[in-house]
């Protein structure tokens, strides 16, 4: 079982991203359980979504407390909350940022960091900082646990209210192509 936690801000589509990723994983034959954490959802407030997937049916319908991978689709939300809380040793961070990994404050037990200037890409595709599908491409590149083609197929099944399917497909592909991966020397947690 692989557990993912997605951090973002209200309005950026973190919950929608978890649903698209779940659909893509099902297309690859996985079993999934995606749960949005809930509060009084407000635009701009920190938002969390959980996703677990496995080759076997998943029975537990609970939140995630020890993720293998953390996806942070907003460059500043880590200032407001601890995005590394409970993270397993040897895990992967997929971070929306244009900063260098050497400038980031990272916990010692992280194995891999994937960075993507998702806001820059979003401004060129959508003219708005909507980073969710870009960061799914980054997740695919960083972990290899889902294929870009499956993400695109999942997008084709998604009902986009205001942004076009074509733009989101470009977003996933650019997220995949423009993600840089840094391996870290893991220290014991």
């Amino acid at each position: 079982m692989h557990e993912v936690r997605i951090h973002g801000r209200g309005g950026q589509g973190a919950v929608m991203a978890s649903g698209i990723l779940a659909a893509a994983l099902v297309k690859e034959g996985r079993h999934v359980m995606a749960i949005p954490a809930f509060g009084f959802e407000r635009r701009g407030a920190p938002v969390v979504a959980f996703l677990r997937f496995d080759d076997r049916p998943i029975r537990r319908i609970t939140n995630i407390y020890a993720p293998d991978t953390v996806i942070v689709i907003d460059p500043t939300v880590a200032r407001s909350i601890d995005v590394f809380a409970g993270m397993k040793a040897g895990g992967t961070l997929v971070q929306s940022t244009k900063r260098a990994v050497s400038d980031m404050a990272l916990p010692p037990h992280l194995a891999r960091v994937a960075t993507c200037d998702a806001v820059g890409i979003a401004m060129s595709i959508f003219r708005r900082p909507i980073t969710n599908t870009i960061m799914l491409g980054a997740f695919a590149r960083a972990t290899g646990r889902v294929g870009v083609d499956s993400l695109v197929a999942a997008l084709e099944d998604t009902d986009f209210r205001d942004a076009g399917l074509k733009q989101n497909i470009e977003a996933v592909r650019r997220g995949f192509d423009e993600t840089e991966i840094t391996q870290l020397a893991v220290q014991a947690a």
Binding site: G19, A22, A23, V26, R30, H31, R60, I61, E156
Partner: protein, 410 residues
């Protein structure tokens, strides 16, 4: 990669949340009239229904009325006119619906209404819990609680089959947990429309009373009182309701069996027994908490603990005989509730299980666990503690009851 990799785009496998699964279950059952008023965490369910109707996926009259009292009142009219009816509500919406809700079973109206269960205010909260459904357990509706998104989708056609059965003729609440199931996304295999059509058969919703201007009839005349034929007639009505409830147990079993034959999905109709064969202690669960509890049972089994689990699907009518039989051999029982019984200072399911066990020749100790209130999570770790407490109880130790599972969450 498993067989699912071969799925084509027009396949009937969806990756959806529990509210959309309920909307699909309703759509596949072809109701004639759907009346709705939105309330958290049910809102997206009725939005899906409106969308399905707008897109022509569902051929039903959508009545977007001004509140839940009107929702159920207009459905009374539609159902009395012979229509198949559907709605969904939660918590305060159910409270506002209560006046017609209270009348529905007495009118013998075979409706299906999803309860997207939510804790009740006050303290103010808008999140999951089963306090709403448990508060109305004595009104006379059948109640079935779902464990997964797939079970929600499948249980709605099953509910119509039960409700409309000539021996039952009672309304059914298909309950699914707010938040964890309503918004939780998983894979759902949609049954084919032809399969559901064949399962439900020719629509004959309301054969016993039908509003028809050509053939006027009085419905629900004044009865009861202390003179003449009133008292005996009132007793006849009440006994009829009780007979319908009692008959529902067998009908629920048969309907689930029939559904299983047609879809390959055999859901446990009344209760599910999990690893109970040689169990020395048992947990009793209800609803979406069950998956995490099964994971905890497996963990305890790896440690050599002989633990089993009994999940309740049908809560009304209460499957007392099945519960007593399933729990007849264990040394202690822990019942996990997602609601509070204020009158007995325990969980409501606990109180029901306690009553059912009176039929056993031996007295089995029980402990009440209450968790998952107002959206709180019940994790495998919470269940591991519940199992440990129940084992201590079996060993003759005192365990103070109820145990509030989330009391010390941080």
């Amino acid at each position: 990669m498993s067989q699912a990799a071969a799925l084509s785009r027009d396949s009937r496998t969806l990756v959806i949340d529990g509210n959309e699964a309920a909307a699909w279950g309703a759509a596949l059952s072809r109701p004639d009239v759907v009346a709705v008023y939105p309330i958290t965490p049910q809102s997206s369910l009725v939005e899906y229904l409106a969308k399905f109707i707008a897109e022509g996926k569902m051929d039903a009259e959508l009545m977007d009325v001004e509140g839940e009292h009107s929702v159920l009142s207009v459905l009374h009219g539609a159902c009395l006119a012979g229509g198949r009816t559907y709605s969904a509500t939660s918590a305060q919406g159910l409270a506002y619906m209560f006046e017609p809700y209270f009348r529905t079973p007495g009118l013998r109206l075979p409706m299906v209404v999803s309860l997207v269960t939510r804790d009740s205010v006050t303290p103010c909260c808008v999140w999951g819990g089963q306090q709403d459904a448990m508060t109305v357990k004595e009104v006379g509706w059948i109640q079935m609680y779902c464990e997964t998104q797939q079970e929600i989708c499948d249980s709605i056609p099953i509910a119509y089959k039960v409700a409309e059965h000539a021996d039952v003729m009672l309304p059914v609440n298909v309950c699914h947990d707010g938040n964890y199931l309503s918004y939780g996304v998983a894979r759902v295999d949609l049954p084919e429309q032809e399969v559901v059509d064949a399962f439900l058969g020719e629509k004959n919703v309301n054969w016993h009373a039908c509003l028809d201007p050509e053939r006027p009839m009085a419905v629900d005349p004044l009865t009861g009182g202390a003179g003449g034929a009133g008292p005996s007639m009132f007793v006849r009505y009440r006994k009829g309701q009780c007979a319908g409830m009692s008959a529902a147990l067998d009908v629920i079993v048969a309907a689930h069996e029939d559904w299983g034959r047609r879809t390959g999905r055999y859901w446990s109709p009344l209760i599910e027994e999990y690893r109970m064969e040689d169990a020395e202690v048992a947990l009793v669960t209800i609803g979406s908490m069950t998956g995490a509890a099964k994971d905890a049972v497996d963990e305890a089994r790896l440690d050599g603990r002989r633990v089993g689990l009994v999940k309740i699907k049908t809560f009304r009518p209460f499957p007392a005989k099945a519960i007593a039989a399933a729990l007849s051999k264990v040394k202690a029982i822990g019942v996990v509730d997602r609601a509070v019984n204020f009158g007995w200072n325990c969980g409501p399911v606990f109180q029901e299980v306690l009553a059912a066990l009176y039929a056993l020749p031996v007295r089995v100790p029980l402990v009440s666990f209450i968790g998952g209130l107002a959206g709180a999570d019940i994790t495998p770790e919470h269940f591991a503690r519940s199992i440990a407490d129940t084992i201590r109880l079996a060993a003759g130790e005192q365990v103070s009851s109820p145990v509030w599972l989330n009391e010390f969450d941080k």
